[in-house]
């Protein structure tokens, strides 16, 4: 059974003192319901994703206590992909026709932290200051640049592009452009990554209303079909965050596994994709993820970036809403923000940042600790 997305809604991303994560979730949900032209009482099930909000299902206190099954999801940076995947699967099971996935979060500024023992890591790993996600991203892109000939200025060009796209997005956190010189000249956090090459944990919410594909035209003239949604975790030998050791034998990361599975399920290849949203935790992640998701070979990013291929008007438009670098990362909402952007692009409703040429196929990818990835492929 096919699944359609008939409504999307967003609470802007940024910092909102005095507004709770639950309240942002309710606002995003209402906007998605309005977009689909349905009422909360029409919704038959819900999935809610968050890291900071213990019980996203408490949002029913603000939307209506209708008694529906409401499942809370936390799956690291792939939380929203997991909520989306399970919502789609619930419709495919055949018991429900109309449901919603809601993501919300409200993080404090600064790098994420946790007790390493919760990640099956020894305490001393945290005590020594090695339980740090940004350090992993620095190591991964540093090695990748060495192996595949990527320059420091390409890192800065990625950030500059995503901030330019953020200027065009009224919901983005960072809406000021920066020069490559200022990006490269900001404090070095984890070589080769400087301060402005990283996204920031922040606040926001997003929601998506899904239905059985054959019902889609009851709600909208512009349905977008979810052709695949996959989640994968790391295999032994993948180079992953929070690893005190790695084996000698290497293998590809979970993004590659999730991506290959999604292309196979959708019957769509990377050459068919018109608009792309990738996990740009840092500028290096966008570069690596371009190859891991099949959009280029390792090392081709240097020329693609120089030629402007990743710009909104380029051959491979990536992170057209500014990505994580301009929007920040409220973990529970981040992946549904990507879906929201792809749906607007496929409808032709993305305004100043609309990808030209009537895009038909969109792609989203999430990746994060402790080695979890999610991919979705959408088409109209």
């Amino acid at each position: 059974m096919d699944v359609a997305i008939v409504g999307v809604g967003l609470h802007p991303f940024g910092r909102f003192p005095g507004v709770s994560g639950i309240e942002m979730g309710a606002i995003a949900a209402r906007r998605a319901l309005d977009d689909a032209g349905v009422q909360w009482r029409d919704i038959q099930f819900a999935f809610g994703g968050s890291y900071e909000v213990d019980n996203p299902d408490a949002v029913v206190a603000l939307l209506g206590l209708t008694g529906i099954p409401f499942t809370n999801v936390y799956n690291g940076c792939a939380t929203a992909a997991s909520a989306l995947t399970m919502a789609a699967d619930t419709i495919r099971l055949g018991d429900c026709d109309l449901g919603i996935a809601i993501g919300m979060d409200k993080h404090l500024p600064g790098a994420f932290s946790a007790d390493p023992r919760q990640y099956a890591c020894p305490s001393w790993y945290g005590e020594l200051g090695q339980f740090v996600t940004t350090k992993f991203f620095g190591m991964k892109i540093n090695k990748y640049m060495q192996d595949h000939g990527i320059s420091h200025s390409t890192l800065a060009k990625i950030v500059a592009k995503n901030l330019r796209n953020g200027v065009l997005n009224e919901n983005a956190f960072r809406r000021k452009p920066m020069s490559e010189e200022d990006i490269l000249g900001s404090p070095m956090l984890n070589y080769p990554l400087t301060q402005y090459m990283f996204c920031s944990p922040d606040e926001g919410a997003a929601a998506v209303v899904l239905c059985r594909a054959e019902h889609a035209h009851r709600y909208t003239d512009t349905p977008v079909f979810l052709r695949a949604a996959t989640v994968r975790t790391r295999r032994l030998g993948a180079f992953e965050v929070h690893s005190p050791w790695l084996p000698m034998d290497e293998t590809v990361g979970p993004t590659v596994d999730a991506s290959r599975a999604a292309y196979e399920i959708a019957g769509i290849g990377p050459e068919d994709v018109d608009v792309i949203q990738l996990q740009d935790t840092d500028a290096g992640a966008e570069i690596i993820h371009l190859a891991e998701n099949g959009f280029c070979r390792d090392g081709e990013q240097e020329a693609l970036v120089a030629d402007g291929a990743l710009e909104i008007g380029g051959a491979l438009p990536v992170n057209t809403d500014g990505g994580l670098i301009a929007n920040g990362e409220p973990i529970g909402a981040s992946g549904l923000r990507q879906v929201h952007e792809v749906v607007l692009q496929l409808r032709g409703h993305a305004g100043d940042r609309q990808v030209p040429g009537n895009p038909k196929v969109g792609y989203t990818q999430l990746y994060g600790a402790p080695g979890t990835a999610g991919v979705s492929i959408l088409a109209r």
Partner: protein, 140 residues
């Protein structure tokens, strides 16, 4: 000032020629660091203690330019913080181990360069003892 290891059972102590203490699966022979009770590759729970090589090659590296969030980080913060190098070193073609590097200058670190295990001071604990940890130092 007395010296104490940052944790028991991760390196030989006291020792003039320190070794990291890993484990090896008696079934599939994979080597882990630190020791663990079950194999990450095969279903075995038969893991034997295994001392790792003292020298190896730098496989991946970066620098830590800001004090990590504390807790869990227990080292110097604020003005006392000194950026440090971090990397994975391939030891004896058996395992890659992540550790502090004694060198934090990117101009002096190269993928593939030879490194050796050393024990270094990390911080002073509440008893006034010096906490010792393991790190890798470039071999000249």
């Amino acid at each position: 000032m007395a010296q104490v290891p940052v944790a028991d059972g991760i390196f030989t102590w006291p020792s003039d020629e320190p070794r990291l203490i890993g484990s090896r699966c008696t079934e599939c022979q994979i080597v882990t660091f630190p020791t663990q009770a079950s194999c990450p590759r095969c279903p075995s729970t038969e893991m034997a203690e295994h001392l790792l090589a003292r020298r190896g090659r730098l496989w991946a590296w970066t620098t830590q330019g800001f004090p990590p969030p504390s807790p869990p980080y227990s080292g110097p913060t604020g003005k006392a913080f000194v950026p440090f190098g971090v990397g994975y070193v391939e030891l004896g073609d058996e395992v890659k181990v992540e550790a502090h590097l004694t060198e934090a200058d990117p101009a002096r670190l190269t993928h593939g360069q030879e490194m050796e295990l050393v024990l270094v001071p990390f911080r002073e604990d509440d008893n006034g003892d010096e906490v010792i940890t393991f790190a890798f130092r470039p071999v000249d």
